[in-house]
Subunit: 311 residues, 2 copies
Amino acid sequence: MSSSDSPLPSEKQADRILEAINDDYGGVVVEMTNEPMDAHIFVSLLRASLSHWRQLGKKGVWIKMPIELVNLVEPAVKEGFYCHHAESRYLMLVHWLPSTPNTLPANASHRVGVSAFVMNEKNEVLVVQEKDGKLQGTGLWKFPTGVVDEVGAGDQSYVIFNGEKMTKETAFMWLYKLTFFHPQGEDICDAAVREIKEETGIDSEFVEILAFRQSHKSFFEKSDLFFVCMLQPLSFDIRPQEAEIEAAQWMPFEEYTAQPFVQEHEFQRYIADVCLAKKDEGYSGFSPVPMVSDFSLPKSYLYLNQQDLDI
Amino acid sequence: MSSSDSPLPSEKQADRILEAINDDYGGVVVEMTNEPMDAHIFVSLLRASLSHWRQLGKKGVWIKMPIELVNLVEPAVKEGFYCHHAESRYLMLVHWLPSTPNTLPANASHRVGVSAFVMNEKNEVLVVQEKDGKLQGTGLWKFPTGVVDEVGAGDQSYVIFNGEKMTKETAFMWLYKLTFFHPQGEDICDAAVREIKEETGIDSEFVEILAFRQSHKSFFEKSDLFFVCMLQPLSFDIRPQEAEIEAAQWMPFEEYTAQPFVQEHEFQRYIADVCLAKKDEGYSGFSPVPMVSDFSLPKSYLYLNQQDLDI
């Protein structure tokens, strides 16, 4: 702990504390490399580092611990860290240093899914039967659905940045510091277009979000947001995805809504009613407007009732 | 591993494998108690259990590991487990046993926030100045905002279930098995009402979601969904929350929109335009319709343009 007596690290001192970058919120981020480290060496470095960061008045200390260094998780927890979140390849540990209330951001709480209403000029709707899942073998024809991708989660792919080969996540850390670019999660409108293409081979253009459901039946404590989207087909020749899709077809809309599953479930009935209203052009959903973010970050979408706003 | 040679566990065998409950997806869930366990004993139990579950054709094996047992994380990873997600009190480890592609659900990818547009009969809007955050000290008056609560995350509160005192999470595990009740995350409409009450003391009734933004600037790889809600005030006497709110007031809407921060930011300008359109009754947002879920689960809300649907 003696290495932290002086407020700024000398080069010699820097060897004895963990390498960290400042974040925008008065804290520091340590990204551990995959190289094995002895737990005793780690604890010694960590204690010296914590003492140093306390002297600098740092608030949150984040340690991104690759799964390969799982032996260091227990020592970190003993030094006061807790798990903020985890992905398949790493654990994110955090320690709030000040005595003031912890203002660290909450962990992600929702998964986001999309369902696609795609209708051709013959009033036929694009429907699929899935190979797996709760509805397997029921003969039900349903709208294509999918989950919005989280870019980088468990992703080990590499990029070249500043002439160096590094993981996307490492590049992200650098870029985050430089604040001119973020890798992104997937936009709802892009996810809907991608899912239709993957499951049915149909090209399409995003039109609107017609409705969405928030539910809390997800695995463990997580919640779901499920967006029902309308898309305009740009191609019509169906090629079902082999891995997930049993069958896909264009089905008359009336035949789709007449299915017992649709008639007997309140949610399905509502969605069918919304699609019917939309088909007859008496319904305004929310359409995406690209935004330049407030803080020089990459594009985001604002979804709103553009039709009513233009009036 | 010899304990798993017979397909069904005898009572004696049951002592030597981990206690698990079946989930609805052909997998099993192990909830470790907080009691310390030697890593060697754990590995022996885990190997016997995995062999047993493989014989039974189980798919996903979930282990909920309390932070107190962090010494068992490294051994579990060595047996093929990875981190699915984590909260402050536990890590959720998972192992996909079959040789078929992993169909385990994705981790939560989004945080959900709300912003509240609350206007009184004098066309004054409810605004606050926050004590912390990026806008601190800028003099900006903004709509009250907050994060949707994730019930149970890091929550150590207890409930009485079947005559026994247990954590909400443990009760949840039992209830999940019995499938007649789930503890819930917070609904967007409830979160907006709660945030206004907490920050300003104002009682209100939820009206509509006017618009929402999906952005990807969150900590690390997580995304945000931010819902702009309209609420009808039911009381008018402001009592600002001491911890987070510097000041709160009813401000003429024109004065709010004239602020440079609102004028200079595309997102803020759009929201002001939407609120103006709503105030003049020319804008339909999405309002919540309570649903009985498809699978006998508790209430969820479907948000849609009810005004257009009623036409």
